[in-house]
Symmetry: D2
Subunit: 336 residues, 4 copies
């Protein structure tokens, strides 16, 4: 048996492609039908309708939260379409989605379909292939991604930055390099939608930072997580109402919820998030934040209980239907 | 019906208490028995033995990772006992565990047993009671916790800090105030064990930061997440071998795994984590980091596959047995 | 506050309605798009295609397995449409789906949307309302269902019956009474598709049996579970190939898988099930049958590994897409 | 590489062994500590105490329900010890636990530790090894088990039997053959504790039945599932109070719950099950029976809500602690 090479696993015919919800007008009727069924389908229908209410509510700013590895999974175009059509006003995400996956693809690289059942992870390592469940990544390409962040950091004036500022710089860089027209970072940059990554060091960007700071030990860019929090809180304060559209959970969910409390600390009387929707497979029994119910968040004064809905489902199944419903219902047409 | 007050929910007879593994010598034999059974019990037994191997391996630095809300759940004393007995060499955690829960208790406050089934979260909010699944917190006390961080930040020289540095300051503050002798922060401070919180703004500390930075807009403490990453990477580089003891998942799991890659970027040839154990209820099918297998981490060059074990269980059930086993096996006696 | 009555919960405007997949031709393209994504969406796409392969394979008999409470959840019409269009050749189910839910609706009763979050189950009991998660049932109507089975049994010649024979009698009864034209039992009766319920006493039918046998202690209908097994095994033996379309898991999954082994015991060389698809939220870690992988079933010689796919999803979300895909791909047009 | 044989997988040094709870007196104190913690540990503590209350309640009959594959997983001795010490009064189980696993071991065969990660299920099939997640079974031995049931059936007078009667015959057979002193079937036989398997054809016994009935087409033993239901209902009626100790869920859980309704049909006023405890990893969101809450069962009039507790945990972890607690608390000493 010939020794396997990278090419045996990274097959250009087996690329991950991003679903286009604009094609699925029947989602409206399907979601209506789901609202007369039971269990997760009915929950999904209610979540879809709540998202649509956010869009129909003139004073409402919509914050999209992303965790997990959703962009590598084929959900990038959905986020881009939401941006293009004014269906979200801010993004809070993990670094994996924004840097390792979206910026990575903006550089021209791709994700490949992989095999979770028969993966020999030691062999993959030897071949410089990284695995995310059923998806493969060319590790050498990912290093270019780290290195690109490193280079961008090197061009910046040394001072503390929020992740939002750095991601904005990445958008600017993409524009200058004429890259990534179909990326989240670039589209958000163009549309003026801020992107926050509260644990920004915990991704490909972190490697860029480590290189940058080690190279320039005395004067360098620093990453001020507190600044992110302050900036996001100000967005909360300036919005009349807010709605949360959360795909997965993790740090982004908590971060954006906490802005209600932070506003109070700043002496501002900001209302609880009026709408909240979360799609997750985490459950509440472990006491962790990802699976904690939105009702529980209400005890903390963060989320109003009236219009919240948890959907217990894996995002690649639920997100296309929820967003296609809202897209084809067209309430967003009257926004902005 | 008389109107309910805070006292009806925060019952001093219904406090959360922290389990003491030093009492449970029979855990050794029980875990041995588990190793001859099937499913999660056998996995738990193997994980316990791998943790014990880390302790028996002279050159091995053990990193404890904590996510979720484990300290409010009664696992604080276990962490303190691990610290006291040189059974861990660094901690990477979410902020909830370290600030909102450990530091909070160090200030003299308590967690209360609550009711997840019949909770009226709107009433709880009105009464200033925060709920974590089946646990209640006095929100007014939690605000004192935020405010205390704020005050500590005000005493620090304005510059970028890693979370580790700030938590060390919190330990020093506890010492000065003669508070929290039984806390993780204080014990770690005393033992010289560093604590990292990669998303440090995403907890009670974040509120302290928001207040601090708003009050002092031009010159203030900033929170450099990149510095944390660099510091933790240096610990990785300096250790001959490393073992990961992960309770829950989230950002801490990814953060510590990434240090292997960061070391490489620094031109250091640091081995993969030799041992790794994770207790979680997350599963791998959503493609997210928490539930990703340690074998998958091996494709990234982060964790060696030889001595890794996932335990699919809720931490309050599994952690007492795993740690009691290691404690009573006494391999740690020859450390340091 | 006025005392609540049944009417407050069983609202005729809040009926469960059954989704009609014939409307959703876009499912074909959506499932194709899912096949280029990751995680559950890609699994769902592969499962859909395998089901379509079963239908395209001339010699293949398709067995539908149902567990859980899927009919009360709005999936009845899907099963009826599969029957009408020759897309399944036998059904193996739990009693809940076939008797308590399908036969119940055939009698003219309905399921109502309920509330899983604020249900006061003691009050519901007092009001004769039974709850299945987020669905309500009129208990008095369910008793009519038990009683109807009782009456049908009373008309039968006393001897051992398979569940299939009794369900066939129920179909005949519906025809005679001109009831339930849109029911699974009636449609299967009309189309000559056998329905097996291996644990037939464990549902509304069991109550009918208890009444019947108590009333007629010496000479009565008995329920021969072994006969079911023998009959289903003969179906397996007579089919050139078999494919399993499993929604949920439980006893039906094991029962139909075991026919391969039973055939061998009867000295017949029957091949393993060639195709197998399962939608479930059970996972494999507990060692139970529902979540056991189809690869594991291969070690038992029951299912071929080549064309099997597990889909980890809640049925109300996944089943409409899988079946709509197969319906609109039209491979079934050339069957029978 | 030499071709692998059965011996490479069925290693006599890697046998599953059954845990002995009589050794673990510290479980009492550990469970008490758990009752002051949160999440699953606190739930487990409450469940343990409820089980102990059942034992302390003089008029209370305790029904043990078993689903999944728990006996092959090392929990057999626990059930035997519960039987020996009058800690249960009836058993309702799936066939896998009672026939394929307990009776199988009574014949002198063993279960082997296996490997869920690297299993090649096609190879296992070729080697006649059956896999249950991380456990291996010699398929040739399992066929002896089927065949033994067949032979026992051949000795019985042809008529309809409940599963209980047949299992009692299996106990008698074991006594005659001087086999299986440490088995559940034999111990239950000796102690006069009835065992019910509602879906008795759905296990190794089913193969025995298929062979028996095919061999003797006109006059044979039949399996009357309705008789089981009637017999169990009579036990319910004769007990002053009842308590359910449920390990896993499935058909046994529903079957025993339904006896309350069946009693009513028989015109007997039997109270709801007073105590109920369930250990499961199933969750309620799929609307299926296994994960349905015991509160939901209360809407059906089956289980009283006052003393019920779900424990979300895998049985091999939770069952040893719950039963060791009850054993060492000694309330059972005053029973019978
Ligand atoms: N370098 C990488 O490629 C990489 C990959 C993954 C994560 N990370 C980093 O790890 C950290 C934690 O990441 P995380 O967000 O994966 O943590 P996580 O696993 O804790 O996920 C957060 C929550 O979201 C839910 N979730 C995730 N994916 C889902 C899906 N597909 N469907 C439904 N629910 C889903 C999970 O169940 C979980 O409760 C982040 O800082 C991230 O940047 C890095
Ligand atoms: N009388 C009633 O109304 C009633 C209701 C439910 C069940 N029952 C009886 O209880 C017994 C066991 O029933 P069961 O089948 O509910 O057992 P179960 O809960 O063990 O379900 C079997 C498997 O199917 C999976 N599953 C069920 N519903 C699902 C869904 N919506 N999506 C994805 N996966 C799903 C479950 O996770 C489980 O693994 C049967 O005999 C049945 O007749 C009676």
């Amino acid at each position: 048996m010939a020794k396997k090479t990278q090419k045996d696993f990274l097959n250009p015919k087996e690329l991950i492609k991003h679903i286009d919800i604009k094609k699925y007008s029947q989602a409206v009727s399907m979601v209506e039908d789901f609202s007369n069924m039971a269990y997760s389908s009915r929950d999904l229908a209610r979540a879809s309708k709540i998202y649509n209410m956010m869009l129909a509510d003139k004073g409402c700013a919509v914050v999209l939260c992303l965790a997990g590895s959703l962009i590598s999974a084929g959900l990038k175009k959905i986020v881009v379409d939401l941006l293009e059509n004014n269906m979200i006003d801010a993004i809070v995400s993990t670094g994996a989605n924004i840097v390792d996956q979206d910026f990575f693809e903006a550089l021209g690289y791709k994700h490949y379909k992989g095999d979770q059942h028969n993966a020999d992870d030691n062999l993959l390592r030897d071949l410089h292939i990284d695995r995310i469940y059923d998806t493969y990544i060319n590790e050498d390409e990912l290093k270019v991604c780290d290195e690109t962040v490193h280079k961008i950091l090197n061009t910046l004036e040394p001072r503390p930055y929020s992740s939002r500022e750095i991601i904005w710089e990445m958008g600017k860089w993409l524009e200058a390099k004429k890259k990534g027209k179909d990326s989240i970072i670039y589209t958000a940059y163009k549309k003026g939608v801020p992107i926050f990554v509260p644990a920004f060091a915990d991704c490909s960007a972190g490697f860029g930072f480590v290189a940058h700071q080690t190279e320039r030990p005395t004067s360098h860019v620093t990453l001020d997580g507190a600044k992110d929090f302050l900036e996001l809180t100000k967005i909360k304060i300036n919005a009349k109402e807010t709605g949360l559209l959360m795909f997965a959970g993790g740090v982004p969910k908590n971060f954006v919820q906490d802005t209600v409390v932070a506003a109070e600390i700043l002496g501002q009387d900001s209302p609880m998030h009026k709408y909240a929707v979360q799609v997750t497979v985490a459950d509440e029994r472990d006491g962790a934040l990802s699976g904690s119910t939105l009702k529980e968040a209400s005890s903390w004064g963060k989320v109003s209980t009236a219009l919240e809905q948890m959907v217990y489902a894996e995002c690649t199944l639920a997100v296309p239907l929820i967003t296609a419903y809202a897209y084809h219902k067209k309430a967003w047409k009257s926004r902005k």
